[in-house]
Amino acid sequence: MNALERILSALGDPAPQGSTGRDGIPCLEIEAKDARRTIARLKSACGFDTNTFVTAIDRFPAEPRFELLWQFRSLVHGDRVRVRARLDAGPEGPRAPSIADLFPGAAYSERECFDMFGIVFEGHAGLKRLLMPEEYDHFPLRKDFPHQGIEPDRLYREWDRRRHEKPAGSAT
């Protein structure tokens, strides 16, 4: 009874359509809105107790543009599952439910997804940029962002100008 059947049987009623990827890891295709329900069921029913990563793929020309990927591993059964959901970039950017309360380990991965793709995770406690400076206003890993960046030294020059106007040496 391979991993895919075990998961699909445990997920029960509206079983998402699953397939086994090239690397032998079962993949589940689900809708973004019922991601939390499925993942909560995966954690409770199927024994997936560790979140390996949360990441996204920007399939730029295709619509819906972003694809969110969660991957979990079960210590008891020793197998993995990958859950994927397609997000379309709405007017104010793609939105997705956060699973940071179910898996505390996913908090930083979600912050990185927000930082790199602009996917807003609803319900995430401290959703701010993880890697780029907080005032950075682009999303680097989107396909339409140039590799060398747009004016990468703007924040540094502003800091330098601010520094010269208000010398930091004065007693604050």
Binding site: D23, T55, G78, L131, M132, H147
Partner: protein, 410 residues
């Protein structure tokens, strides 16, 4: 200009019971600090010496590796994987190569796998030596730094003899390794393996029974079994908490099922257990290296690189003779395309589960290459472990979680 210093005193958050309590101090253990093992910044709120709140700020070494992979293409990204977890460059190469081979469905010849196991285990020893050296010097054992770096220099010499460069040697290719391990390198490694276990005993004699080391590490940063799983920790940090999960045993790759080694597991899950687990792992890695050297001896002259010309460069001699090999080389060098699809390959690196999610749309440039960094999860666990402890315990916790910023920030 001496303006009067107005000492406006606002009580701040005084913890109710003790009126003589001081205010909270906001301290910044910033990106440039010896104890943070790289460019990690910790915003700490201190109540006296007790840490009230810790907030790690990462990203000071974010070089945009995943974007670079999409720009450079699969083959040329190999050089960048060395700089991910820069204390064990060859392990990152092997992880990346395995993920690509899984996507391409490529089989590696037996000798190539044995060489990879040897390189990975030597890198694991080197990485644990850096852990021991830097954590030792942070907690006051200065000689530990020089002992460990002395051993690490010997490993540098081995890799220098084999690959020609001490560090960041990018010697793994898709389908195997770049060159064969000659007799001289094999003897050098054997020589190193004879003296190394005695050195590890020396380290243990210095630290394990040491009263200061024991008090600074025992019951500090205790990580229970469920917390470790919930915070997605893996590797020595997870095994320190009593969970026996080692990908070399749970999901064997590269022929690891043929080696016998045992997996050290801690009990309480504090800094001391993680230290014991890592020191024991160094001995086990030396054991695996010895078995790998025997296998190398047996398969001398065997194939160390696959023959599949879609991904593996033909040797130079053949390229000069035949036209097909020239065309193969040209096609691989310009754009080595991987079949469309998605694959996740992960190995047991010295920090935990290092994985690569590679998604290809059939061209030579990846659709997505996500690097699953174990060190990012280690940094994420710092606030959970350090809250309510003394500031000096934070140094022990950072040292014991053993993360490398190149992998955290990618």
């Amino acid at each position: 200009m001496t303006e009067s210093l107005t000492l406006e005193y606002e009580p701040g958050t005084v913890s109710g019971d003790d009126p003589l309590h001081g205010e909270l101090m906001h301290l910044n253990v910033g990106p440039q600090h010896p104890a943070t093992h790289g460019v990690l910044r910790l915003k700490i709120t201190l109540d006296g010496e007790t840490i009230r709140e810790v907030e790690p700020v990462v990203g000071y070494l974010h070089r945009g590796k995943e974007k670079t992979c999409e720009t450079l293409g699969w083959r040329r990204f190999f050089v960048h994987t060395d700089r991910l977890d820069y204390v064990q460059p060859l392990t990152n190469n092997c992880a990346y190569a395995m993920a690509l081979e899984e996507l391409a469905g490529l089989e590696i010849p037996e000798r190539g796998q044995v060489i990879r196991v040897l390189l990975m285990e030597l890198s694991r020893i080197a990485s644990h030596l850096i852990y021991l050296g830097t954590t030792g010097i942070d907690l006051g054992a200065v000689t530990m730094f020089f002992f460990c770096f002395n051993e690490r220099e010997k490993i540098y010499e081995l890799l220098d003899a084999y690959t020609g460069h001490r560090m960041n040697n990018t010697y793994v290719r898709i389908g195997g390794v770049y060159a064969d391990v000659e007799e001289s390198v094999q003897d050098a490694v054997t020589g190193f393996l004879e003296t190394f276990p005695a050195k590890v005993d020396e380290f243990e004699k210095m630290l394990t029974g040491n009263r200061i080391w024991y008090d600074r590490n025992r019951d500090v940063g205790v990580l229970t079994r469920d917390d470790a799983l919930a915070w997605s920790l893996s590797g020595p940090n997870l095994r320190g908490s009593g969970v026996e999960l080692d990908l070399r045993r749970a999901e064997p790759y590269c022929g690891y099922e043929a080696y016998d080694f045992d997996v050290p597991v801690g009990t309480i899950g504090d800094c001391y257990d993680r230290y014991l687990v890592r020191v024991e792992e160094m001995r086990q890695s030396a054991r695996i290296c010895r078995q790998a050297i025997d296998k190398l001896g047996k398969t001398r002259g065997g194939e160390f690189l696959a023959e599949d010309r879609r991904f593996v460069l033909p040797p130079k001699s053949e390229v000069r003779q035949s036209m097909e090999e020239l065309i193969h080389q040209f096609k691989i060098v310009t754009d080595m395309a991987l079949p469309a699809g998605e694959a996740y390959g992960s190995i047991e690196s010295s920090k935990g589960e290092l994985g690569f999610l590679v998604a290809s749309d059939g061209t030579s440039h990846p659709l997505r290459c996500h690097i699953r960094a174990p060190s990012l999860m280690n940094v994420q666990a710092i606030p959970h472990l350090a809250r309510g402890r003394l500031l000096s315990d934070l140094v022990a916790i950072i040292g014991s979680l053993d993360f490398v910023m190149g992998e955290v920030d990618r």
